[in-house]
Symmetry: C2
Subunit: 244 residues, 2 copies
């Protein structure tokens, strides 16, 4: 994500290091988002405006604006005159709705990217290689019994990157935006499930099937492969959710 900024720094020799014209509001937004996605704050916790402002050494106004932005993503809830709270975890029915929406988005994106252009297949294959290598590391760590937080986070990031390749190439800003909107909810789900990742082998196999479907020149194959993958993730996740 920082690669473009790093490239500029290489060319310009780090001249305009602090020339970002992004306003203080966006930095505050990133900080709070990172705090929420890290999972350090349990759901239902109060997010005091000026407490956050003091910890970031800014005034409450930009914090308030970042909160409005976060409210629309669904990560925080707001009650008038009572402040903001971390959104409660998703229940089973909300989880089902989330997967239904994701199934719609991913299958549509797969259909819109068929037939696939060569650069997309290259990117997809590279993303899957990354996903597979990290996934095998996760499997190795599972054998030793240690649940590495950073490793699972990297795994989820690689998985998300794989799917993002498809959305990026479907050339539809609205669908892409909807997908990113669901991304935050997905992260919220993973926190609530919390038992780590248990379906690495299945995910790798299904991703490989998706890549193969794009290469097969069959017009209906990518959408079908993507549907199988999302439905597989859904059934596996709902099983885990039912156990708890």
């Amino acid at each position: 994500m920082l690669s473009s900024a790093a490239d500029e720094a290489d060319v310009l020799g780090g001249l305009n290091a602090t020339f970002e014209r992004r306003g203080l509001r966006d930095h505050v937004y990133d900080s709070i988002l990172q705090l929420l996605l890290s999972g350090e704050v349990p759901p239902g916790s109060r997010l005091s405006i000026d407490t956050i402002a003091r910890r970031l050494t800014v005034s409450p106004t930009p914090v308030r604006e970042a909160m409005v932005q976060l409210e629309r993503t669904g990560l925080v809830t707001r009650e008038a005159l009572k402040g903001y709270r971390v959104a409660p975890p998703l229940n089973t029915s909300q989880l089902a709705e989330l997967f239904e929406a994701r199934l719609m988005l991913e299958t549509t994106a797969a259909r819109l990217t068929t037939p696939a252009r060569p650069p997309m297949i290259d990117e997809l294959r590279a993303a899957e290689d990354q996903h597979r290598s990290i996934g095998e590391a996760v499997i190795g760590a599972m054998g030793s019994g240690s649940a590495d937080v950073a490793l699972t986070a990297a795994y989820f990031a690689a998985d998300a990157a794989f799917h993002r390749v498809v959305f990026r190439h479907c050339r539809n800003h609205y669908i892409q935006e909807m997908s990113e909107g669901l991304g935050a909810q997905l992260h919220r789900m993973r926190q609530s499930v919390q038992h780590g990742v248990t379906d690495v082998r299945e995910a790798i196999a299904e991703h490989d099937a998706i890549v193969a479907a794009y290469e097969s020149q069959d017009a209906a194959a990518p959408e079908a492969a993507m549907r199988l993958h999302i439905e597989g993730v859904r059934s596996r996740s709902l099983d885990i959710a039912d156990q708890s």
Copy 2:
């Protein structure tokens, strides 16, 4: 402690119906939204924070929060240190993307509401009656050559209400939210096309076909009818857009 509050609400019935505690921010949001949807402000106009604040006799802070909220809907654009502007009109490719996304949402919603429960069909039929009556008034006004702004606004509202019935009954908050997000963009499109409404007869016929499809007990019929409708709206709108 929570049970007592619920009991009190039951006992008191609908006594405190209009005591919404909605903060000043939401009122400002509604005001600016109405201003934008009215079409009085041309695209690209600057939306000065404190000018709006003075006209609404509030402080700039709630206006700023409402702007953040509007920015995420795509109705206004923000440039750091340069302020907010009314979003520019949609070009042809954006229009195509918008209809592609809408096609995905509406067909999915139609599929999720099949088979239809009786109350939904009743609501749908009532919404279509409303749409038809207003549509016939629009046709009559077109014959006399007068383009009534309020009448066309009512027509678009009736059309949106018809589609909203389906989304409300598909029981998926995420899809419903996405649909409402596209609603603002749709309104923006209608302003840019601006030539009034020219496909009233086609829209009424296609809506009737949708209702008939729900009544037919054919599991695939509603989605197909909805697809035909959206594709019809798309081709008619893109034709108009190409002419201009």
